[in-house]
């Protein structure tokens, strides 16, 4: 892969980000509700005080001027102050981002670790009870709404069985000095096994909720592409060479079958970002998703703007990563 291609990709980001910013800005402007009113609530203030606050937040300008100002500032890396936190938006986001990254990664790993073996097995044992069970389960997995499934899991494991915590990322006693800001890794690096287990017990339910639809889709994709590959001449030829069944499946079939799986996984990882908002809200997970939901409620425009930009960048980058993985799996593709 060439540097030129990477630069081209990064250049493609510019129109995407501009478009996304404009749409988000427009939607926020059109949504009823005034951040100043929300912020003031029932407090009685003079009109003058209110005007001062409005000016302070930059809301006294007409929308198009606000947008231009936003772009000019954003281009310099300044995304403004969070109305609500009275801190730079990027600082607020940075403090919440690791929790979301950690949750998404665990969900992704869980999804891949179940979907690929299950999809392969279902294809190899086509029409067996296992194949049917995998198909039915993945149908459920795709159809169950995350908020509902999450609440069910909470009721079962946290309320009835009381084996897992209800909400949050870890108990107070599990705090460790951050290294990577990913709690599961930091606790291990600091040698705090108790804290690691605590973090694990907190992350398991939200990660399962978040990863389930993805696992379901990936299982189906892997099964379908594996079935297709198993019918290919090169699989027959590999058998004709007298290779072991494992080598035929794991080497000759799987590498080719994973190509569609990788593509779909990249797209689905993008959609984890949306799922995060629901799951983090249900499980009280202190991540970016919940922050964005809260910010929308209080019309915290600058934070929503910046967060959506981060989502867009992540999405484009994930697709780029999928393209890179493609070349590894399929030598016919050159970036």
């Amino acid at each position: 892969m060439s540097l030129g291609r990477l630069i081209e990709r990064l250049a493609q980001l510019v129109p995407v980000l501009l478009g996304v910013s404009a749409i988000v800005f427009l939607m926020m402007a059109l949504t009823p509700g005034d951040p100043v009113e929300i912020m003031l609530g029932d407090q009685h203030v003079t009109e003058e005080q209110e005007r001062a606050l409005r000016h302070d937040m930059g809301l006294d300008l007409p929308p198009h001027e606000r947008f231009v100002k936003f772009l000019a500032n954003a281009a310099q890396g300044n995304f403004g102050q969070s109305f609500f936190h009275r801190q730079p938006v990027m600082d607020v986001i940075a403090s919440r981002l690791p929790a979301t990254i950690e949750l998404s990664l665990v969900a992704l790993v869980l999804a891949l670790a179940t979907a690929i073996p299950l999809g392969v097995l279902a294809a190899v044992k086509k029409d067996s009870w296992l194949d049917r069970a995998a198909t039915v389960t993945s149908l459920f997995g795709v159809s169950l709404p995350g908020f509902w499934f999450g609440i069910l899991l909470l009721m079962l494991f946290a309320v009835h069985l009381q084996v897992l915590p209800v909400a949050g990322r870890a108990g107070y006693e599990s705090e460790v000095a951050p290294i990577t800001h990913l709690l599961l890794i930091d606790t291990l690096l600091r040698g705090r096994l108790d804290a690691f287990l605590d973090a694990l017990s907190h992350i398991i339910l939200p990660a399962v909720t978040l990863g389930l639809p993805m696992a379901a889709i990936l299982t189906r994709v892997t099964r379908t592409s594996m079935l297709e590959v198993l019918d290919q001449d090169y699989v027959t030829f590999a058998r004709a060479k007298g290779l072991r069944r494992r080598a035929v499946l794991a080497k000759h079939a799987l590498k080719n079958a994973l190509i569609p799986t990788v593509t779909v996984a990249a797209i689905e990882t993008g959609s984890l970002l949306g799922g995060n908002m629901v799951v983090e809200t249900v499980f009280g997970w202190p991540g970016l998703g919940r922050l964005v939901v809260e910010s929308i409620f209080v019309r915290n425009y600058p934070l929503v703007q910046a967060a959506v930009l981060i989502y867009a960048i992540t999405y484009v980058m994930l697709n780029f990563l999928a393209d890179v993985l493609y070349t590894v799996l399929n030598p016919r593709v050159r970036l």
Binding site: D233, T236, F237, A240, P331
Partner: protein, 331 residues
């Protein structure tokens, strides 16, 4: 017949359970392959020639299965052989090439890797650490690529299949098949996917290597011209049965079965370019619902009433046999 055959198929039946009923794709096939010979197996698509040799290789895919008969290869009965031992034979003692090398070679691995893996799997003469064994297998891969005539083979070891031309890919597939010096090579339509000029090169290569390596070759084809040039003996198949078997020269000079005659007549000839082609009318019968008696009779120009009863293979002089009631009566 002097030396005992290395492959002997007797009464082989291979069936496929389909939605429309049981299809007997191979129905009582008898054939033999002698040491060092090239046997041509001829017939149109769906006549069971490929399925017969998929059965020999143990590569019949479900819902197909071997329903009866015997396959003896190098004094082992293959129909009852367990999969582990069968696997050890495949690629080592019996090898096959497929019709289209583009689809038979794995696009995701280099050609060196695909030659090496069969050597690493079967060759007991490799020794040393895993790394040394790989180095020896790689040397063998290079040797094989030279043998099948890949130009500047050393530079091309780490290329992927799509980087080669069609003819070169076919050669690489042959290199893979022959990497462990098998006793029997089954070449399934080795030239169908190739240009005419390349076809001749690939067939010549197979013939040369047969002599050099002292192996037997089964050439599965629908092209009698190919058979005439490269095979010692021919087996003609029709609708899952062997209908005629004979030494090549004898078969071409004096075909006994009306189907064989039809096949020969339908070859376009340079000497008679103006003459219209003479195809065999009609279609292969539906294998699910076969009429009793001769399976060719509905397309046969000389069929008689007695063709509706079961026709056995009739041995004739000159080491040939034919499945036709008219054959002996005619002479």
């Amino acid at each position: 017949m002097s030396a005992p055959p290395i492959l002997s198929v007797r009464g082989l039946r291979t069936t496929f359970a389909t939605r429309h009923g049981m299809v007997t794709a191979v129905d009582g096939v008898d054939l033999e392959v002698l040491p060092g010979e090239c046997l041509g197996v001829v017939g149109e698509s769906g006549c069971g020639k490929s399925v017969t040799f998929a059965s020999v290789m143990g590569l019949v895919k479900p819902p197909g299965r071997i329903a009866g008969g015997s396959i003896r290869f190098l004094d082992q009965e293959l129909t009852t052989l367990d999969e582990a031992r069968f696997r050890a034979l495949r690629g080592r003692d019996m090898a096959m090439t497929m019709q289209d090398a583009l689809t038979a070679l794995n696009p995701a691995y280099t050609v060196a890797d695909q030659i090496m893996e069969v050597v690493l799997e079967h060759d007991a003469s490799l020794d040393g650490s895993a790394r040394q064994r790989r180095a020896q297998a790689r040397a063998r891969a290079l040797e094989m690529m030279d043998l099948v005539g890949i130009p500047s083979a050393a530079k091309r070891l780490d290329d992927y299949p799509h980087q080669f031309s069609g003819g070169m890919r076919q050669r690489i597939m042959i290199a893979i098949a022959l990497a462990c010096r098998p006793r029997l090579l089954i070449a399934d339509e080795p030239t169908t996917a190739l240009d005419v000029t390349i076809q001749a090169q690939v067939l010549d290569l197979i013939s040369t290597l047969r002599t050099e390596l002292g192996m037997s070759v089964v050439l599965i084809t629908h092209d009698l011209a190919v058979v005439a040039e490269h095979c010692d003996r021919v087996v003609v198949m029709y609708a899952g049965q062997v209908v005629e078997t004979a030494p090549t020269r004898a078969l071409i000079d004096a075909p006994e079965h009306p189907y064989t005659r039809g096949l020969l007549a339908s070859i376009p000839r340079l000497s008679a370019l103006d003459a219209p082609l003479d195809p065999i009318d009609g279609r292969v019968p539906d294998l699910v619902d076969l009429p009793p008696g001769c399976r060719f009779r509905e397309r046969c120009t000389v069929a008689e009433a007695r063709c509706t009863s079961e026709v056995p293979m009739v041995p004739l002089a000159g080491e040939r046999a034919v499945r036709c009631v008219l054959a002996e009566g005619g002479r």
